[in-house]
């Protein structure tokens, strides 16, 4: 028997958006709700091409808004379909109330989100303001760092979502990844379909066995039902790791929930998410080490559920850490949203490693490797317990 690994490799030059579309095709998705918004649009354009060419047998639903897009996939998933949609920025905001419904109904929807800044002022460029606003919606949230990882993660996300019965979002850098052409190795599609077998779910509408979905809950039950979402989401971390390992055994690529670079003997660690932040942080680790600073970098690949134990373990014994956020938690105590999460994870475990909150790359303000070297230098100089708005002109 030949395995996927022994077969000839198919490597294409794809943007992360096209990689997402190829993953949707490989996953044999049944229903795709389509509404255009930059920088997401080329995903659904490519999927429409696949459907038109007969390469994907899916129902494409052209809806009138993102609120309708999410509502349409909620309905289709409730009817038992494997579904997909994609959006960015204002589109994700418009979906917001339905995001809670998707997790409350425990529907395994998968959505791609090339992350983009929010209005006003209008910006088509990338940052993570949109994704961070979905923090408490009950969705599994991956943040990928390469087109290859976008492809692999969307396939993994279907398996995870259909196992734990929760929706999953695969986010990545708007423009800096969504529109960047890079190599992507594609899997054999038959192999992907064996990896993603169709399974029966308890929460599917069937005329022969009627159930009620989206029912009213009084104070005597509401709390328990929402607690089940919490339990399922926290418990999904283990499934995310198992599926990632199984994917690695089948297709030869796996990522973990955190990616680390030279952390083994590091004194100072930068925590980042997304392709541009981590890619540049990684380069900066090498540059800082040449300057005699024992630097390391960590990438948060899974934001929800938050891998708190792993982060805490990595940061427990270093001299100091910084978190680079591409979003602002307006009016909050910590500048960036993920810095606040990391600090909470440490505090809950009684760890008091000094930390520095860095906000950068807002509205795609250019981030340079040199900026990340500066962060390591700041950490070495003992800077801590404050917020630095990098790249800001004052």
């Amino acid at each position: 028997m030949t395995t996927a690994l022994q077969k000839a490799r198919t490597v294409l030059a794809l943007t992360s958006n096209y990689a997402a579309a190829y993953a949707v095709k490989a996953a044999d998705v049944d229903v795709v709700a389509v509404y255009p918004i930059t920088p997401q649009t080329t995903i659904v354009e490519k999927i429409a091409e696949f459907v038109d060419d007969g390469e994907l047998n899916a129902e494409l639903i052209h809806v009138e808004s993102e609120h309708s897009a999410m509502s349409a996939v909620v309905g289709a998933a409730a009817a038992g379909a494997r579904v997909f949609t994609a959006t960015s920025s204002q589109g994700l905001e418009l979906m917001h109330e339905v995001l809670h419904i998707a997790s409350g109904l425990r529907l395994p929807i998968v959505m791609a989100v090339p992350a983009r800044a929010l209005s006003a002022p209008i910006s088509i460029h990338g940052d993570y303001s949109d994704v961070m606003n979905t923090r408490d919606t009950g969705w599994i949230t991956y943040i990928a760092a390469s087109a290859q990882e976008v492809y692999d993660t969307i396939i993994q996300a279907y398996k995870v979502a259909e196992t734990v019965l929760l929706p999953a979002m695969v986010a990545y850098d708007g423009f800096l990844m969504s529109h960047t052409t890079e190599p992507v190795e594609l899997n054999d599609e038959e192999e992907v379909r064996r990896f993603l077998p169709r399974k029966d779910r308890p929460n599917v509408l069937k005329p022969e066995k009627p159930i009620t979905m989206g029912a009213f809950a009084m104070p005597d039950y509401y709390y328990e039902i929402k607690y089940q979402v919490q339990e399922a989401l926290l418990g999904s971390l283990k499934v995310i790791e198992e599926v990632d390992r199984e994917y690695g055994r089948t297709f030869g690529r796996s990522y973990g929930v955190l990616q680390t670079y030279r952390v083994e003997d590091a004194d100072y660690i930068v925590v980042a998410y997304g392709g541009a932040s981590f890619g540049n942080a990684r380069e900066a680790v090498d540059a800082a080490r040449e300057k005699g600073i024992k630097a390391g970098a960590v990438r948060l690949r899974v934001f929800r559920p938050f891998p708190a134990d792993y982060i805490a373990k990595l940061l427990a014994d270093v001299k100091a850490f910084a978190v680079v956020d591409r979003a602002i938690a307006f009016g909050g105590p910590a500048g960036g949203p993920v810095f606040a999460e990391v600090v909470t994870a440490l505090w809950m475990r009684g760890i008091d490693t000094p930390g520095l909150s860095i906000v950068h790359g807002i509205g795609q303000r250019s981030m340079y490797v040199e900026d990340f070297v500066k962060i390591f230098e700041m950490l070495k100089d003992g800077e801590k317990s404050k917020v630095v708005y990098m790249g800001l002109r004052l």
């Binding site: 490597v11 294409l12 030059a13 088509i124 460029h125 850098d173 423009f175 800096l176 990844m177 529109h179 960047t180 052409t181 890079e182 190599p183 392709g275 541009a276 981590f278 890619g279 540049n280 990684r282 380069e283 250019s366 981030m367 340079y368 490797v369």
Partner: protein
């Protein structure tokens, strides 16, 4: 790693040129990364695109500030900005039309060739031929094969012809 920065105007297709060359490099088994720097998306506005090619995986995702090669699709850009900014010592300029610059320069009359063959002043594919000739970053056959991923039918044939003619006519100034 070779880093190339493309300067053009919206509608000239310089973003596509960077993608075709990245695709060609990937088809040769190399690692490549091509991405645009969009300002307002409109015809005529200055546009930059970046291309990195390496034998190793590429992690860096910053704009290219010290390119090995600068490609200029429209000489009027020398008036409004400095495309040569940050060009590495010994770096190369590939330009549409003879332009006297204080660096090693290759040129081709891309506009005339595009008008003659396509009937439109879309210079990107001619500039692909020029870049391949000037830098050898990929083989001509790879560039033509990659072009087939972006254009089909008669449009492919005309553009492939344009790449080949531009390749032949590109000269060092």
């Amino acid at each position: 790693m070779i880093e190339i920065r493309f300067h053009g105007r919206g509608g000239q297709g310089m973003v596509t040129a960077s993608q075709v060359l990245a695709t060609a490099a990937i088809m040769e088994g190399k690692y490549a990364q091509a991405f645009p720097e969009f300002g307002p998306e409109r015809r005529g506005a200055p546009v930059k695109a970046y291309l990195r090619v390496d034998d190793k995986p590429i992690y860096k995702r910053e704009p290219i500030v010290e390119p090995d090669v600068v490609v200029v699709g429209d000489q009027s850009l020398f008036v409004s900005e400095n495309p040569l900014e940050g060009l590495k010592p010994g770096g190369v300029l590939v330009v549409n039309g003879a332009y006297k610059a204080p660096v090693k320069t290759y040129y081709v009359d891309a506009t005339s060739l595009a008008l003659k063959i396509l009937g439109k002043a879309i210079v990107n594919t001619a500039m692909i031929g020029a870049v391949v000739k000037a830098t050898g970053i990929v083989r001509l056959e790879s560039a033509l094969a990659a072009l087939g991923k972006y254009f089909t039918g008669r449009l492919y044939e005309l553009n492939a012809q344009l790449v080949k003619i531009a390749f032949d006519q590109t000269k060092e100034l």
